[in-house]
Symmetry: C3
Subunit: 153 residues, 3 copies
Amino acid sequence: MIMPEERLKQLGIELPAAPKPLGSYIPLVRTGNLIFLSGMLPLVEGKLTREGRVGEKVTIDEAREDAKQSAINALSILKSHLGSLNRVRKCIKITGYIASASDFIGQPDVLNAASDFMFEIFGEVGKHARAAVGVNVLPLNSPVELEFIFEVS
Amino acid sequence: MIMPEERLKQLGIELPAAPKPLGSYIPLVRTGNLIFLSGMLPLVEGKLTREGRVGEKVTIDEAREDAKQSAINALSILKSHLGSLNRVRKCIKITGYIASASDFIGQPDVLNAASDFMFEIFGEVGKHARAAVGVNVLPLNSPVELEFIFEVS
Amino acid sequence: MIMPEERLKQLGIELPAAPKPLGSYIPLVRTGNLIFLSGMLPLVEGKLTREGRVGEKVTIDEAREDAKQSAINALSILKSHLGSLNRVRKCIKITGYIASASDFIGQPDVLNAASDFMFEIFGEVGKHARAAVGVNVLPLNSPVELEFIFEVS
């Protein structure tokens, strides 16, 4: 069985301070054993890694980095609530919105970087249902925004 | 502890008749203690407050009014199901879709009007997780559409 | 009480093999009595029925067929997990993303084809909450993508 806290250490990933929400809401709500996270952006120290649409200013590889960064930010929020990621029982669902040029159709490729990362950290527990959606524009001109639902013990 | 029914009265807000769905579905489904609402539009007496994209025909201030109106409509549906809003235990999640000019990036500002309203009515119980998403067009040419998940007792 | 397996037979609908996910994720996750499905596309034998935006290359009637096909694919995944659709207790929520020309506002009409189909197969159990959302582009250039949440026994 994979222990996500140990996996993060092995991979040399240090979780950043949980990013602050951009408005009058909270980063995470728990109901029963389910946790709903707010939309995660690829913020590093409070700033977007980059701006723009995939297929225009942003390349697929850059957007994949952004998807992974959004997932790292999700884990930092989750850990600040749970104390330890070892208490995650399941990653239930990721909905990934990708700011897309109107002819960019590789949203699943972008989102795979987040999905692969979840599997890398959590193993079987990280296997989730998923929807990849293209949109014309996201908050702050972010290339990527991810929603997460987790089950915890 | 805030009693939402009393707060509505203090603020002079009268909930309208629950808006009718636009298709072959229902406004609200309960599963266990969770309630999922259908996408809420800023309808007043069955008509949209206005049409168009934010950043084009619609201003931020107008869109903020629309976000609040969509939240009022959500409460009217919730109340028609529960009898009293005092039975709401938690606002879990709002996903807000904002019809956006391709260079409009203030979706969180728009959605804050709905988030602030939920806090005004429910207090701590109204603090929710949230995602703000820009899209090119919404049903009926609405500027705003909101999804809600609530926990009830 | 309607038995969905019998309804499918009466209507002459044969569920296809469950479509494969397009990335590193799984088609369905269960948590308690809830089932979250991955985003469903109108794939037939692994290929999209058609490509493009509604209001441009794709007509409303074609998009309605695509919405129904996406729902059929959802049922095939659900059945492959449950053994029998008769174990479905409720269709909770459908979120339908419609790739839309920027002046196409009939997303609810498109999604009605999926909603009507759910009612046809499940009766009252199939009545769900719903959100219809227009977007500029979807994975693989699909006209339609549907998310489902079900309750099972």
